[in-house]
């Protein structure tokens, strides 16, 4: 058997046809192979260095031109100002009892999913116009109306006449509480503690302001603390001259009550009434507490009623505070297209 016949017999159908004319690309094959090998080795070396961006950048490198031509630029709707993937637009204003309220609408940037973008949480809003700047007292939100925030400006009777603008700065970082159904966002900046109250006298009335150092240069002054066995009331404000805004959760604990030996039960407490919702009695959720410089809380009893058989051995004040500082540049929101509803009522 000649070599030619033998080679013909053992030739795989996948082998190139020896009778076919040589490919014009054949001379380039070594260079192409070298290039591909080099590219892969380069990427492999970087992958082994512990960096994790290879996959996405490789995809970018494969077809950058075609897709770049068809992808629209991410944007917020016309008239909205973008801040961190969220478009903001002042929609309407009204005044009530000497305070001005401005409703600001929020939309998600076009390339982002609304369910994956947190709302704009800052409480640092300033109204500018008529040569003055007025700081907002709070940004009102409701779980029932995501996408709209109402900013309250105290002691402002109407919108300024001269080129009014809304100025806002980002708030320090917020995080999402995911393990709690029905809960909204909580701040990453938070602290908590407890204070033993002297005596067991009830009704209890705080005689002088109670100062609580909550950290991050914030001192909370509890100006009014009053409670009975059934209800409580707290007023507080920040005494420091800084830009912090907080929301405070304060409760009274009747230590030693509600079968303290049975550890599954909490002792009787007075807790903020906004934590009580919703239920058969008041079926609508409370608004999330705004970040402010001062606030108040109505406390309501949870746990067994206080009586001779269920009497506290001591009293403890529990406090938990979240705070927010403005950060970054000022962002201007024009008010030229706002709907002014004027003074109510």
């Amino acid at each position: 058997m000649s070599d030619t016949i033998w080679e013909e017999l053992v030739r795989s159908p996948l082998d190139p046809d020896p009778n076919a004319p040589p490919s014009r690309l054949a001379p380039l094959a070594p260079f192409l192979l070298a290039g591909i090998a080099g590219l892969l080795i380069g990427l492999f070396l970087l992958g082994n260095s512990g960096e994790s961006t290879v996959a996405t950048t490789l995809e970018t490198a494969v077809s950058p031109t075609t897709a770049a031509l068809v992808e629209p630029a991410p944007e917020v709707p016309a008239g909205y100002t973008e801040v961190d993937g969220v478009g903001l637009q002042p929609m309407l204003a009204y005044s009530r009892e000497g305070n001005l309220y401005i409703a600001v609408s929020e939309t998600t940037r076009s390339d982002l999913e609304p369910g994956e973008v947190p709302a704009f949480h800052s409480s640092d809003w300033v109204l500018s116009g008529d040569g003055v700047e007025i700081a907002a007292s709070r940004a009102i939100a409701s779980y029932l109306a995501p996408g709209v925030r109402v900013i309250e400006f105290p002691n402002v009777a109407a919108l300024p006449m001269s080129v009014p603008e809304l100025i806002v700065r980002r708030g320090s970082e917020m995080v999402v509480r995911t393990s709690c159904q029905g809960c909204g966002a909580v701040s990453a900046d938070a602290s908590s503690g407890e204070i033993s109250l002297d005596g067991l006298d009830r009704p209890f009335l705080l005689e002088e302001p109670l100062l609580i150092d909550v950290g991050s240069a914030i001192t909370l002054s509890v100006d009014h603390l009053e409670f009975t066995d059934e209800w409580g009331y707290v007023e507080w404000h920040i005494i420091d001259e800084n830009e912090a805004r907080v929301r405070a959760d304060i409760s009274d604990v009747f230590d030693g009550t509600d079968e303290p030996d049975f550890k599954k039960l909490f002792p009787t407490q007075l807790i903020p009434d906004f934590m009580w919702d919703p239920g058969m009695q008041n079926p609508t959720m409370s608004n999330p507490q705004p970040f402010t410089r001062r606030g108040w809380l109505v406390l309501d009893r949870i746990g067994e009623i206080i009586n001779d058989q269920n009497s506290p051995t001591s009293l403890t004040l529990n406090w938990a505070v979240e705070w927010q500082y403005p950060i970054g540049e000022e962002i201007m929101l024009p008010l030229d297209s706002i709907t002014d509803l004027g003074e109510l009522g």
Partner: protein, 275 residues
């Protein structure tokens, strides 16, 4: 042959360096968050955009997408959809306690942000008002009469629309000052005071609209307040309990929740191509 091998080695070296450099472009955090993944697609169609696309009308935090108009008897119907564009990654599900012990959980993205209650159909020789039944309805209806020609539609506008906004107001009521305006279209009034061991103060909410009062909550503000209970049977009345034989003066309360407010900003509705 030697020359070919040398060139191959050079190409190999250049490609290796290029591979490293390409990969390096993704090192920084900014680069990682850039839109590299969509670019990997070789599709010639644009990636899905959530709004700002043709056919969408932005209304506050929502986008309106109108459908093809059609006739139903003597009515012209324009079906539409409303997408809530509000950022909701950290928003809570809304838990609503209903009658008879039932409850309802609504994800934030399903909440109606706008109510398109007023429509106007502009034809070659007429303007015909239309409406939508409620905030969740997704069809606008116009009474156009017999023989209406859809081709005569020149434009469709919303003369105004309603926006669902948060409300939170502290109010002071007393005998002689029994009512307070909370927000546009919403008034609270003192209905009754029953002085007893624990005094009961009844407060009523009155709205220019009748569908939003399930979104309100009223409770006492200040020292001495006990529970606040909304009346059963759906009436918009709350009974506030005060820990004294007489009512405080003034009576202070907190009204919170969300209400519908009219935005008087006429907007043209984008109809589908060929309508």
């Amino acid at each position: 042959m030697v020359r070919q091998a040398a060139v191959a080695v050079i190409v190999f070296a250049i490609a290796s360096v290029a591979g490293v450099l390409i990969a390096r472009t993704g090192d920084s955090a900014d680069a990682i968050t850039s839109t590299t993944i969509p670019l990997a697609s070789t599709s010639t169609t644009a990636p899905q955009v959530i709004f700002a696309a043709e056919g969408e009308t932005i209304l506050g935090p929502a986008a309106l997408v109108a459908g093809e108009p059609y006739l139903e008897g003597t009515q012209l119907v324009i079906p539409f959809d409303v997408a809530n564009l509000a950022p909701t990654a950290d928003a809570a599900d809304v838990f609503t306690f209903l009658q008879f012990g039932n409850s309802l959980i609504t994800p934030p993205e399903d909440i109606d942000a706008v109510y398109l209650d007023r429509w106007l159909l502009h034809t070659t020789n007429d303007e015909i008002p239309g409406s939508t039944a409620n905030p969740s309805a997704r069809a606008a209806r116009f009474e156009v009469g017999e023989g209406f020609d859809i081709a005569s539609i020149e434009a469709v506008t919303l003369p105004s629309y309603s926006l669902f906004i948060p409300v939170e107001s502290e109010i002071s009521l007393s005998v002689g000052n029994e009512s307070a305006t909370i927000s546009p279209g919403l008034t609270i009034r003192l209905l009754a005071v029953t002085e007893q061991a624990n005094t009961i103060i009844q407060i009523e909410a009155r709205s220019e609209r009748d569908f939003n009062l399930g979104n309100l909550r009223i409770s006492g503000a200040g020292p001495g307040w006990l529970s606040a209970v909304k009346e059963a049977e759906g009436r918009p009345r709350w009974n506030l309990t005060y820990d004294a034989e007489t009512a405080p003066s003034p009576i202070t309360a907190l009204v919170e929740g969300a209400v519908w407010v009219t935005v008087d900003r006429p907007i043209e509705v984008v109809l589908p191509e060929g309508s």
